[in-house]
């Protein structure tokens, strides 16, 4: 057999940050027209490996060859020029530029002008529209300023951008973390088409079902080392998970707790012009209520409205812990016993430059004071308790949160609210970007919390999560409750309750 050089061949890649090794001797190969899934738990080194490939990071050891030719991209621009394109894990857009500009800024179409070659805005707009149409998201207007789009829409634009140029290798780092299944399906269609055009795709994801649907081969990293590769057709979830984690996960969701206590939260006729319409529900102590909805359904605002993050609420009646409660501000919400974990971890959750200890202590700082001053030892012991309690993997309470992997940051955000006096915990998208192992841990902890008497409200666009986790589930669509389910509802049932077109857009 004539063995042509593989499209991508990375060999012996090594990298450490500040003396701590993150990748050691990693090999990674992709053939032309092949989709390779790169798996590994949070912090395994997947993103780092791809950033090394595209020249964002330097490397300490190893070689890289593309189509048999040794390459060494000094900067991403060199990688782009060689047809190696990265769709990074974190949303990375120019918020004040239009959709079309975001798609084409790296490769602007020009036209002859009187004096000089100017940017061909019309062509750019037209081609943007074509690309978005192809993706199935024709409703996104190329002239919209990027920051006005939802996170999911921005993600779609980023994907369009990655597709705009002529790529030989396309790396997608968790492209669907913020998307719904339907949206993901549209992305898969594109990947298959690229494959047919002999483009190679590296696909990073924590959703095993996706990986099994789209990939030809699966490469697993563990603690910065190769932990096996599998032909997708010849393996199964359990083997892959075993390679990733060293053990199997079993059932992701814990059994529902038995005894439910008294009613903690009751919401009646809650409305928010244009966003929420006559919402009513209640949660009891010990209960997890899941709320499922697609983008634009109202799940983005429901939790915030109750917490007080949207300011004083006028319409509707809310009772909290048996008392009348009017949302006013986060400060007031917190004082009334509500904890809130926001969806956008990086933007709205972590204080990047502070340590794990500080991030955990911040929300109830007054509880760690001795006299006038904060007691560091009290903070430390509290932080340690939850580092152990939630299995947060960190070098210690003094590590800066920004250097933790995503899943562990998420656990810190939850740990903040685990103090006496919090009765209701509201979580938006609690496991976005979190690996299976960690996801199971988080679900387990949420169940523990409920068993200890918390009421938990989970707002998620992950239908499996809502179906699996919730004691009861609500489905929202266009600001209204369109379905109420008890335990045991299937994802398909929840999905069916929404009438929404899979391509989301506000009317």
């Amino acid at each position: 057999m004539p063995t042509a050089a593989p499209r991508l061949h990375m060999q012996g890649i090594g990298k450490s940050f500040g003396g701590v090794p993150v990748l050691s001797g990693v090999d990674f190969t992709v053939e032309a027209g092949e989709v390779v899934a790169l798996l590994g738990s949070n912090g395994a080194g997947k993103s780092t490996l791809m950033k090394i490939l595209t020249g964002l990071y330097g490397r300490d050891a190893g070689t890289i060859a593309v189509d048999g030719e040794t390459v060494d991209f000094a900067a991403p621009s060199a990688a782009v020029a060689a047809g190696v394109r990265l769709l990074p894990q974190e949303i990375s857009v120019m918020p004040d530029m239009t959709v079309a500009e975001n798609i084409f800024a790296g490769d602007l179409p020009l036209k002859k002008g009187l004096l000089f070659r100017s940017v061909d805005d019309a062509a750019m707009r037209r081609r943007s529209r074509e690309l978005l149409d192809q993706l199935g998201f024709g409703a996104i207007d190329p002239d919209t300023v990027m920051k006005r789009l939802s996170v999911a829409e921005q993600r779609i634009v980023e994907i369009a951008r990655a597709l705009a140029g002529q790529a030989r290798i396309l790396i997608m780092d968790e492209p669907t973390a913020a998307l719904t299944e339907q949206e993901a399906t549209l992305i898969f269609r594109i990947i298959r088409r690229l494959k047919a055009q002999s483009v190679s795709v590296v696909y990073i994801s924590h959703y095993l079902s996706e990986v099994f649907e789209i990939s030809d081969r699966i490469a697993v990293l563990r603690d910065g080392r190769n932990a096996g590769t599998f032909r997708t057709a010849e393996t199964n979830h359990a083997d892959v998970l075993a390679a990733m984690l060293g053990n199997t996960v079993g059932d992701l969701y814990a059994e529902g707790g038995a005894a439910k206590g008294e009613e903690i939260l009751s919401v009646e006729a809650l409305s928010l012009p244009g966003k929420l319409d006559d919402i009513g529900f209640s949660i009891r102590a010990g209960e997890i209520l899941g709320v499922f909805g697609l983008v634009g359904s109202g799940i983005e605002v429901l939790g915030r409205a109750i917490y007080g993050a949207l300011g004083p609420m006028k319409a509707g009646r809310i009772r909290l812990g048996g008392r009348e409660y009017r949302p006013a501000s986060p400060v007031a919400g917190k004082r009334s016993g509500i904890g809130f974990v926001a969806a956008e971890r990086k933007k709205e959750g972590i204080i990047a430059d502070l340590t794990v200890r500080e991030n955990i202590a911040l929300s109830f700082q007054e509880r760690f004071e001795r006299g006038l001053f904060v007691s560091k030892s009290a903070e430390t012991s509290h932080a340690k308790k939850w580092i152990d309690g939630l299995g947060i993997r960190t070098r210690g309470p003094e590590q800066r949160i920004r250097t933790l992997s995503g899943g562990n940051q998420q656990k810190v955000c939850i740990a903040r609210w685990l103090v006496e006096g919090v009765e209701l915990l509201i979580l938006e998208e609690p496991t976005r970007g979190v690996d299976v192992g960690a996801r199971k841990e988080i679900y387990g902890k949420l169940r523990d919390l409920a068993d200890r008497g918390f009421a938990v409200l989970v707002l998620s666009s992950d239908v499996e999560e809502v179906a699996g986790l919730g004691d009861r589930a609500l489905v929202l669509d266009r600001g209204r409750v369109v379905g109420r389910f008890g335990r045991g509802a299937t994802p398909a049932q929840l999905m069916a309750a929404t009438s929404a077109d899979p391509a989301f857009h506000a009317a």
């Binding site: 964002l56 621009s77 990265l86 120019m94 918020p95 800024a105």
Partner: protein, 330 residues
């Protein structure tokens, strides 16, 4: 007669909103503010509203305007240049010294412009390649450059009277002062570059999200370095205009206007965080500040009260823009 139904109200509101929401709506607010100022002064002072006076405002603000013009794209791209005014001072000094040594005036100008470009290049390298804080780098550069200008002249103002040269500052074309024309052409050119060319988009992208821009292959460093050089060059041109206008080169001539330059850029709607801004906003801000100075002086308001008024106007102008943003529900 039609009564305003909720539907028509909301349609009107939507139209207004979309009007105000366009990128230039912040500029429109400044334009309204500027026109308001012109009207007020026209009423309050009989000397204010005349072509001659408008032109003299224009020529007074020209050298500040030149520096603010190029400072705008630099700040949009995420940079900052505090040394530009010092470069203006040095340029005049270098020209006058070289000319005194017998060098042809235009050769002297060329050398001075080259020196300025080199300084801009150093600013650019230090901030991009070495990733040093631009505030400290360019503040340091300001100190070095103005110190050198003082050293070179021994602190003295040097006369610089060469008819062909002084025309740059004192000449007129169809009655319009040349410095004003130079400034307007600079703004126009920068506007074209920023809105029409590839480089312009790279400027916005670099400042909007340098990381993202780099990732899609935009040469962020080169873009920013270029802008530092352009900023320094505009400092040189400002220095030339000033020296030509005054018939003398003073080492400290432009230094005190540094804050005005920065203030005009920010007032004009450019964000210090990068990624947003327009040169027309800067131009209007410059005109507002120049008009205020002119109008109050014509009204015989003491310079102390002028300071107070200027502060109030700055605050008013930026509040007005905020009210616009609020109306949009941003």
């Amino acid at each position: 007669m039609a009564t305003a139904t909720p539907a028509t109200i909301s349609a009107t509101r939507r139209r207004m909103t979309s009007l105000l929401g366009r990128p230039w709506s912040g500029v429109a607010v400044l334009l309204v503010f500027y026109i308001g100022l012109v009207v007020v002064f026209s009423v309050l002072s009989p000397f204010f509203l005349s072509v001659r006076n408008m032109l003299s405002i224009g020529s007074n603000v020209a050298f500040i305007g030149l520096m603010a013009a190029t400072g705008t794209p630099l700040i949009i791209a995420g940079g900052l240049d505090l040394s530009v005014a010092a470069i203006a001072g040095l340029t005049g000094v270098v020209i006058s010294l070289l000319h005194m040594q017998g060098l042809d005036i235009w050769l002297a100008v060329a050398v001075a412009v080259f020196v300025a470009a080199a300084i801009g290049w150093i600013n650019g390298l230090f901030t991009t390649r070495l990733k040093l804080n631009p505030l400290i780098v360019t503040l340091g550069m300001m100190s070095i450059v103005s110190g050198l200008a003082l050293v070179m002249t021994g602190g003295l103002t040097r006369p610089l009277m060469v008819p062909g040269f002084n025309v740059i500052g004192q000449g007129r074309v169809f009655g319009v002062p040349l410095p004003l024309i130079l400034m307007l052409v600079t703004f126009l050119g920068l506007w074209l570059v920023l809105t029409r060319t590839r480089f312009g988009r790279h400027v916005y992208a670099s400042g909007g999200n340098a990381e993202a821009a780099r990732l899609i292959g935009i040469p962020v460093e080169r873009t920013v370095v270029t802008l530092y050089i352009v900023s320094a060059l505009s400092g040189a041109v400002a220095g030339i205009v000033l020296a030509a206008m005054l018939g003398a080169a003073a080492p400290n001539s432009a230094g005190q206007h540094l804050l005005t330059v920065i203030a005009a850029i920010i007032l004009g709607g450019t964000s210090l965080n990068g990624g947003r801004g327009s040169v027309w906003g800067t131009l209007l801000a410059i005109l507002i500040l120049g008009t205020l100075n002119n109008g109050l002086t014509l009204m015989n308001v003491s310079s102390f009260w002028q300071d107070v008024t200027r502060g109030v106007v700055l605050m008013l102008a930026v509040s007005l823009d905020q009210i616009r943003s609020r109306a949009l529900g941003d």
